[in-house]
């Protein structure tokens, strides 16, 4: 399995923009202190997404498309070559646009909908707009598996990335009322966008280590013992924090809450937080996946 470094990172939600602001939160201790999360938790929507986008197309773009465009533009854009492949991971893609269409045809009984709404509703729309505005012709693909999209990213890293020297990663979701129609859905899903270049490296960066059945299985394996820093999703953060009181255990939850693509942010956190060595831990429906980071 290959190691990969992360370059040209950008992230935003309603409160936080860029690697520097994430580093500030880390230094303040918020990422490891659940009692202080409330003050920084992201809102459902990101304000002022139109700012800084010159293209007139922006008035037609959804919040997700605007957010992904800005994340790529503020992150890897200037460093993307013609050969780079661009992968968008999104749990629900253009869900707000889709909700508007379903509402129009089922509630209002409309026989036609806005053409812009419809062509904006497909999962590949954000990369389509990015390519149009930036006049790019790169390989672009969207992967979407709902709440399990993080697992799809892990599969991408373990398999597809093996065949590539590097890849441009974009990820994100927008909030929609649609997501709250399901009363069994207890996830908090704010708007956020991430982009970076994932590049193969011989000896530095992040590497897949293995998969464990559950938290007990992971802890009893002893693998965490070799790390002073652990970055985990909220589901397992508390367990690890209690088990490893002398280690730095942090979570991405204050930045993306229950977002399905949180692992994509976690991949970048050790490098943007300037850690020497860290363990990245992601719980999925198939088990707990762990990744080693070496600076």
């Amino acid at each position: 399995m290959s190691r990969a470094i992360i370059k040209n990172f950008y992230f935003h939600n309603s409160n936080v923009k860029g690697a520097g602001e994430i580093a500030e939160l880390f230094k303040s201790g918020i990422l490891s202190d659940p009692e202080r999360w409330q003050s920084v938790l992201p809102a459902k929507k990101i304000d002022n997404l139109l700012d800084g986008i010159e293209s007139r197309l922006k008035i037609r773009m959804s919040e997700l498309s605007l957010g992904i465009y800005k994340a790529i533009k503020n992150g890897p854009d200037a460093f993307i070559t013609d050969k780079d492949e661009v992968y968008l991971f999104t749990g629900f893609a253009e869900i707000e646009t889709t909700d508007k269409i379903i509402n129009a045809i089922t509630v209002n009984k409309d026989r036609l909908v806005s053409p812009t709404l419809f062509h904006n509703s497909v999962h590949n729309t954000p990369l389509g707009y990015w390519a149009i505005i930036e006049k790019k012709h790169n390989y672009c693909v969207t992967v979407s598996d709902g709440m399990e999209t993080g697992l799809s990213f892990i599969n991408f890293f373990r398999y597809i990335f093996e065949t590539l020297p590097r890849a441009v990663i974009a990820a994100g979701d927008e909030w929609s009322r649609f997501l709250e129609l399901d009363k069994e859905n207890l996830y908090d899903l704010p708007a956020y966008n991430i982009s970076y270049i994932l590049e193969k490296s011989a000896d530095k960066g992040i590497k897949y280590l293995g998969c464990y059945k559950d938290a007990d299985d992971l802890i009893s394996s002893g693998v965490c013992g070799g790390y002073n820093s652990i970055i985990a999703d909220r589901d397992i953060f508390n367990t690890l924090k209690k088990s490893y009181k002398t280690k730095t255990v942090i979570t991405d939850y204050p930045l993306v809450m229950d977002a399905p693509c949180g692992v994509i942010l976690k991949f970048a956190m050790p490098s943007i937080l300037e850690m020497d060595k860290a363990l990245v831990v992601q719980k999925t429906v198939r088990g707990i996946y762990i990744f080693d980071f070496e600076a």
């Binding site: 509402n103 409309d110 790169n138 693909v141 599969n155 399901d182």
Partner: protein
């Protein structure tokens, strides 16, 4: 480094022509397919093609699941000796028709429904993992509108070729949804009757329900399997729902696929076109194909028979091509007329095809071309 070869060792299909490739091609040769014309008071305003099968044996499953279950059952012999295979899913609509059915009641708070589990992409792969324990090791769902299953095949092909995995199951599926019928109609891309791709009389597409499954593997079983020899994808960077009128993105994509396969344009015998039947799509695609292949090529679109099955269209049309080309023929519907160009045959012809190309072009200018080699 020596690359692996990639063969299609099992396949299955579900379209308006039926739920197996053999009888589907029989129908292509002997008869005509007619889309379903909704009643005047129906919520659907345009005709569409539907899979003529009720899937009663899968009670409790939503239609998208039932179609997928049957396709997996159709290739169950493969799983007798193969477990833990990677699953590459593809869909454009993700079973959104189920959400449409419950949306009003959910909005009014009248019912509870596990929308996140049943709809929007997360539902189907987990249903497959649960129903067929051990069959699949992991999954990924590709969604690039009409090129979705082309992308899934491209990725599976590449991983097998590079030796990362040795086999993969690719399943593409899209059911009919009011969202897509109304949406395409709003873009003025839907015809009022049966679509007539690659003809001068074309006036839009007819949507179709469809699905296809293929098992890709790094070695042959019987020696007569179709081989995937090239796969490429580009982005137009031109318009969110219309192709670049100059066909530059499509041209680059086709050339890359040919280059990967080490094949000259003159060696390609047949192109199974994206051929949606919309004025613009067919115009650009034929222009692009003429630029690359000149007049020495045969081009048809299976959407004449099954409609546009969106994210499933690449894989279901490849499965139909597999059977059609095995019989040494290239089918055209019996009522086919007013062809756009001489490279489009006027009727079903006999032709021995060695190399053929499958094109898929999706919204956002997402182009996929797959180059395949038959055992002929």
């Amino acid at each position: 480094m020596k690359k692996n070869r990639v063969f299609i060792i099992h396949s299955g299909v579900a379209t308006a022509l039926g739920v197996d490739a053999e009888s589907s091609v029989d129908l292509m040769i002997n008869g005509l397919t007619t889309p379903y014309f909704p009643e005047p008071d129906s919520k659907y305003t345009r005709p569409f093609y539907k899979v003529p099968y009720n899937y009663d044996e899968y009670s409790g499953a939503v239609r998208q699941e039932a179609i997928a279950f049957k396709l997996v059952d159709d290739i169950s012999s493969f799983f007798k000796d193969n477990k833990g295979v990677s699953l590459f899913l593809a869909t454009s609509t993700g079973g959104i028709d189920e959400s449409e059915k419950v949306y009003v009641d959910l909005l009014a708070g009248k019912i509870k429904y596990p929308l996140m589990k049943k709809h929007f992409f997360s539902g189907l792969p987990e249903s497959l993992m649960k129903r067929y324990p051990g069959y699949f090791s992991d999954y990924m769902t590709f969604s690039t509108a009409c090129s979705s299953s082309g992308q899934a095949i491209l990725q599976a092909f590449r991983l097998i070729k590079e030796g990362v995995i040795d086999k993969a199951v690719v399943l593409g599926i899209d059911t009919i949804a009011l969202t897509t019928v109304t949406g395409f109609d709003s873009l003025q891309l839907v015809c009022s009757g049966k679509s007539r791709p690659l003809t001068n009389g074309r006036d839009g597409l007819t949507l179709g329900e469809g699905a296809g499954i293929v098992v890709l593997q790094n070695k042959q079983i019987k020696g007569d399997e179709i081989e995937v020899v090239g796969a490429a994808s580009t982005t137009d960077g031109y318009h969110i729902s219309s192709p670049d009128p100059e066909g530059n993105g499509q041209k680059g994509c086709i050339y890359k696929a040919l280059q990967e396969g080490g094949i000259e344009p003159s060696q390609v015998d047949y192109v199974n076109a994206h051929g949606t039947g919309t004025v613009m799509n067919d115009q650009v695609e034929i222009k692009t194909l003429k630029m690359i292949f000149g007049d020495n090529i045969t081009v048809t679109s299976l959407k004449s028979y099954i409609g546009h099955t969106l994210g499933a269209s690449t894989v279901d049309e490849i499965v139909l091509c597999e059977e059609m080309l095995k019989r040494g023929i290239i089918c055209q519907p019996k009522d086919f007329s007013e062809r756009m160009d001489d490279i489009v045959p006027e009727k079903t012809i006999e032709k021995r095809v060695k190399y053929f190309l499958k094109n898929s072009f999706g919204f956002g200018g997402n182009n996929v071309s797959l180059l395949l080699k038959t055992p002929n």
